[in-house]
């Protein structure tokens, strides 16, 4: 009897499951019909921290226009893998990110040329766009970021200096070394830890290494991915790196394993005057209550990274982006149109620009709203003063992860294991050539 009852129950469950299964399938079928004419948007977002804002914005757009917008966010560090799987599905993303030349090379077949589209015409600059070899614009930079030396002005004043005293590498070095000499008396260090753990090393293998790359490319008039780099400015890279590691909160030996959170916390708690990072740190340092640093935004600014290059007193911050939208060229035309309409709405509507300003700072579109972020203020002020922008030369890096792994490994050996600087040079110069050939 008991067995029969169990069998009956099980079959009931099975029937229910089948019924709901069918039921679920029916809903999108009718929805698809409606969407066949209007198209729909599927955005694969790669910034987990902006997920909630995107979901809310998508919902609002659907309410206003009736167009279905699906936003999926890839887990941190899993964007490329997620994109690969999602693209293989029948309902592939219609809108995704292509952050640099390397990514464009991989996804070229899926990128629509955006030149002349409505959203493209709304842009104020083409500096952040990614162009293919044929000159077409395959991804548009929807926001930009700047990095440099985040500076705690209050601490700097305590040490007896102001930001105006820092004009070039020599003046930076003098001040930094003075702070280190009086470290115990002052109670803080010059730099927060330049950790080489994976959570932090990109600040140096990516961002700091941009300095020698930028100056080298400027001298050689490089405008597309070069097959080789010369490392002409690597001595400058060494100078600023040595300054970082010899004047930081932690011992050189501990750098290899120091994390990004640690460095941020040191700066947030006022243990260091300088912290090399970007505009995206604003929320973490000033407004994020769970982190609890809640620094006074008036105490903060961002200085250019000086490394001893001639004329660098005229440098502004390093501005660029890896946040570039691409539209799936293999999606149906209706979907492409719906996606382009959505993109235009995001950068022109009140709700869209508001959200963009909150999440991404000032965006390079005509209808952009002002941002609270003082780091962007610093970036814009420097540009307004007529200083030259240090662009993100590292966007040309071939096989970017592999190249950076090599540089990080060499930096670790050099900094914390008695290795030679020559290895860094090899990783930087030969590594580039190898990765260029491998790609």
């Amino acid at each position: 009897m008991g067995k029969k009852l169990l069998a009956l129950l099980l079959s009931a469950v099975m029937v229910c499951a089948m019924a709901t299964g069918c039921g679920k399938e029916e809903t999108p079928a009718s929805g698809e019909q409606a969407n066949a004419e209007t198209g729909k948007v599927y955005y694969l977002n790669f910034k987990p921290e902006a997920d909630a804002a995107w979901q809310a914005l998508a919902k609002q757009y659907t309410e206003e226009t009736g167009v279905e917008v699906k936003v999926v966010t890839a887990a941190s560090g899993e964007y490329e893998a997620t994109l690969t799987t999602e693209m293989a599905k029948s309902s592939a993303p219609t809108m995704f990110q292509v952050g640099n030349q390397n990514a464009l090379a991989t996804w070229q077949d899926y990128c629509l040329d955006l030149t002349g589209t409505e959203v493209f015409n709304e842009m104020t600059t083409e500096d952040f766009n990614i162009k293919g070899e044929d000159g077409g614009t395959y991804a548009i930079g929807y926001c930009y970021e700047a990095f440099g030396l985040i500076t705690n002005k209050a601490l700097l004043a305590k040490a007896g200096y102001s930001v105006e005293d820092i004009k070039d590498f020599a003046s930076l070095k003098t001040i930094v070394e003075d702070i280190t000499a009086r470290k115990d008396e002052l109670g803080f260090s010059a730099f927060s830890s330049a950790g080489l753990d994976g959570s932090s090393s990109w600040r140096f293998s990516g961002h700091l290494a941009n300095m020698p790359l930028f100056y080298e490319f400027r001298d050689d008039n490089v405008t597309s991915q070069p097959a080789e780099v010369t490392g002409a400015y690597l001595d400058n890279f060494k100078a600023i790196w040595d300054l970082y590691i010899n004047n930081s909160t932690v011992d050189v030996a501990a750098l290899a394993t120091a994390t990004g959170d640690q460095s941020e916390a040191e700066f947030g708690k006022g243990e260091a005057v300088f912290f090399q990072n970007g505009t995206w740190e604003y929320a973490n340092l000033v407004t994020d209550e769970t982190k609890g640093f809640l620094m006074n935004k008036d105490d903060l600014t961002m200085l250019p990274i000086y490394c001893g290059v001639e004329g660098e007193e005229n440098a502004a911050l390093c501005c660029g982006t890896e946040n570039c939208w691409a539209v799936n060229s293999q999606a149906s035309e209706a979907d492409q149109k719906a996606t382009l309409d959505f993109m235009k709405w995001v950068v022109t509507s009140d709700a869209g620009t508001q959200m963009m300003a909150e999440q991404f700072g000032p965006i390079p579109f005509k209808a952009a709203k002002a941002s609270e972020n003082v780091f962007f203020t610093a970036a814009n002020d420097l540009i307004a003063d007529g200083k030259y922008v240090v662009t993100w030369a590292f966007n040309y890096t071939p096989n970017v992860d592999a190249w950076r792994t090599g540089v990080v490994s060499a930096l670790q050996q050099y900094s914390a294991n008695g290795g030679s600087w020559d290895d860094v040079v090899t990783a930087y110069v030969n590594g580039w050539a190898t990765q260029y050939q491998n790609q």
Binding site: N102, A254, T257, S409, N438
Partner: protein, 305 residues
Amino acid sequence: MSKKKKNNAAVMNSRLISRPIQRCFPLFVLPTFIAFCIGFIWPFAQGIYLSFCKFTIPQNAKFVAFQNYAKVFRDPGFLYSFFYTAAFAIVSIIVINVIAFSVAYFLTQNIKGANLFRTVFFMPNLIGGIVLGYIWSMIFDGILRKYGTFLLAKTEYGFWGLLILMCWQQVGYMMIIYIAGIQSVSEDIMEAAKIDGANKVQTLFRITIPNVMSSFTICIFLTMTNSFKLFDQNLALTGGMPVAFQPDGSMVNTTEMLALNIFNTFYTGANSRGVAQAKSVVFFLLVAALSLLQLKFTREKEVQS
């Protein structure tokens, strides 16, 4: 009641009933077979096809014949990781099995609290590899910092670190298999050996070990395949670092094992996905061949008791 059961069994064994059921076997196998096809056969076949293609996603694959395979064998990183993996496999097979067997042997000697020990030794197996990797990297770095160095400073640290991690994780599992083997050695043989005057060492080497050869077969098989397909622990512990530069400028991640090498290759760049796929086909052939060889080899040593 018991009579009825017997009748049932008799009925089931009768040809009249069992034949039609046996004839229906495809129907019963079908669900599993479909699942196996979807989850294994099809992806496997597609994987082999893709290894001859240049692709970003499977749908845009372009046939390039043997280009990918040619690149595989010219990649110093792949060849290095093969020898590194082989070295790791050999060392870990020996170390893990020796420790696991010793622990199993001592825990079958009527020690007080043996069950508690068995549980404790088995526990690390319940933790996922990626978590273990991160935890152990912190432990190692904590220790090495005292000596002014760190885990990624030297290839050797990564190698022995991974070995310690794998021992810690796998010894418990292998121990359980050895305990089962040791306990199933017939009491009669042991008693006979005792009466014949064999001492403990003689009993161990002449009686116990030959009789648990089947356990050795399975444990060596498991540790070998585990070492070859090791991925999570490798990724989390060192991620392949440190990097060594060859004279020609090519890079070799000196603690990168085969599986991690394949994974890293896949996401390197635009043209590397097919190469990674070709590597994984080579990898499959290699592991399959080694496992078959090893099975054949140890099977010959097994004793029937």
